[in-house]
Amino acid sequence: MGEPAQGQAFDMPRGDAKRPAAEVLPYAAAAGAPPLIQVQDIAKRYESRSGDSIDAIEKISLDVPRGGFISLVGPSGCGKSTLLKMMGRLLPPSSGRIVYRGIRQGEIKPRLGVVFQESLLLPWRTILDNILLPIEVMRLDAAAGLDRARKLLATVGLEGFEKKYPFELSGGMQQRAAIARALAPEPELLLMDEPFGALDALTREQMAEELQTIWMRTGKTIVFVTHSISEAVYLSDRVVVLSGRPSRLLDDIEIDLPRPRSLDMMTDPRFGTYATHIRRLLSAKREM
């Protein structure tokens, strides 16, 4: 496999297959503004207990435009989550940097909403109080926050559950509450680390459909880590394919399918072409 983003051997339905990843992307160019996040030559190395170091991420550059939906896919343990955390400044990179809004110094970190595979709701708080947590922590306006939290409860289909405790809800409902919590402080950037990974297939598809609706309605920038190729193609503007450890960028694929996408679209031949391309990239890498 050659340099990142150059291993194109398939006939992909897109214009500039050979475009280097770090180049300014059409979204940002069209908006006339720098991308919300620029990942510049980022690498992460972990020191193990025995003293040797493990390269989790070798060198990755990519842009996330404002309002975009970007998925990161790659084999297990390839550092997708690590990259995601670094994009939110929740983990320092070993080298390289994250630039927000094209401003290199004195920039304001975008307000974050984070969703993990587990809902991580606080078990001693009611669903409503869990959704209010970021509003309390960030000291946002309480009255407006409460109003927004109630609306979000409706958005994620949890009306009537505000006084319940997390252990009284199913896994899917807990995850909906976690999404509502992430959206409560009106974040600029939503980081989602396999948010549907612990759900059954049916709930998972339903949640993906709802996430698309929420994203289209709110216009948040979303970076989404997933194991599921079809989930990534279904949801994303762009799918970033990462190699196994040490992680490198294999391809950055623009998904040119009309929105809103329905689940039926998964049987569309164009959908299949994207999915097959990504699958081949990942399996070709494994055989090496």
């Binding site: 955390k85 939110g88 929740l90 974050l112 909403g113 984070v114 993990f116 587990e118 991580l120 606080l122 078990p123 001693w124 947590l133 970021p134 309390e136 922590v137 960030m138 405790y165 997390p166 252990f167 402080p185 980081l191």
Partner: protein, 279 residues
């Protein structure tokens, strides 16, 4: 929920977990049988003593014990002794809890304090606290101070060890989530670490409740001018078995009510945990 540390006082394990739920009908039947057994035992005991099978000076009849207990708790002199012991227990328990939870949080959250304090904690933990009591009486006299100290010391360790385990049990992913909200250290403590530690703190308090009564009574045995333990010694030397029973009943009521109070705390603050201490 099993907590394993080097120290044995952490009993927040399977034994304190609630038993498997029984069917309601079965439980009612059990309670009825239990009541019948109690009545039967008391009746035959009363019968044996009245018939002269059992000498009353060794084991007084239950009716006499009830009478004696009623007389005791209506007597101001007895109540004064009881209040004295309760004050020792309350002050000692409170001091032990505050110190144990405070130092426990510090040890769990500040690595520097852990390195300094932990070796001493382990070492002191191995000394039987009851064995230090004579020393404390020499140092602090026959008054209330020495007993409060004994109670505090005996309560301190189980509370401390459970507090350390509790404050360490915070989920790292939960911390990451709070980081994503730019939470301060205090917010992280107040909103996540502290509530998360509550079931452990309650488990520690529950052990300390039992120990605190033991501590106060042992302290008074060794030398006291007042208190139920001192009264127990006096009544024993008079061969007043009925009186001894009455003091025992009072002590167990003190212990039970403290247990109940901790149980209420648990129900209020640890309801969300399936292993929370039930009463």
């Amino acid at each position: 929920m099993t907590v394993s540390t080097a120290v044995h006082d952490v009993v927040f394990s399977a034994e304190t977990a609630k038993p498997a739920p029984m069917r309601a009908g079965f439980r009612t039947t059990g309670s009825i049988v239990s009541a019948i057994v109690l009545v039967a035992v008391l009746a035959s005991w009363e019968g044996c003593v009245r018939a002269g099978v059992m000498p009353a000076f060794l084991l007084p009849a239950p009716s006499n014990l009830v009478l004696m207990f009623a007389t005791d708790i209506l007597s101001p002199a007895f109540l004064k002794e009881a209040l004295y012991t309760m004050a020792e227990i309350a002050l000692g328990f409170g001091a032990g809890a505050v110190a144990g939870i405070g130092l426990g949080a510090a040890i769990a959250l500040v690595p520097m304090i852990e390195q300094i304090a932990w070796p001493y904690v382990i070492t002191l933990q191995t000394i039987p606290k009851v064995a230090i009591a004579p020393l404390l009486i020499i140092w602090f006299g026959f008054g209330i101070e020495s007993k409060v100290l004994i109670v505090a010391l005996i309560c301190f360790f189980p509370i401390l060890v459970n507090a350390v385990a509790g404050f360490r049990s915070t989920d790292a992913r939960q911390v990451l989530l709070m980081d994503s909200m730019d939470a301060t250290k205090w917010q992280l403590f107040r909103k996540v670490r502290l509530p998360n530690a509550v079931p452990y703190l309650i488990a520690g308090l529950q052990i300390a409740v039992v120990l605190s009564v033991i501590g106060a009574v042992v302290g008074e045995f060794l030398g006291a001018s007042a208190g139920l333990g001192a009264l127990l010694v006096v009544r024993q030397s008079n061969m007043d078995v009925t009186g001894v029973f009455s003091v025992l009943a009072t002590l167990s009521i003190i212990g039970l009510s403290m247990n109940l109070a901790v149980g209420l705390l648990s129900r209020r603050f640890a309801f969300w945990m399936d292993t929370s201490v039930k009463i």
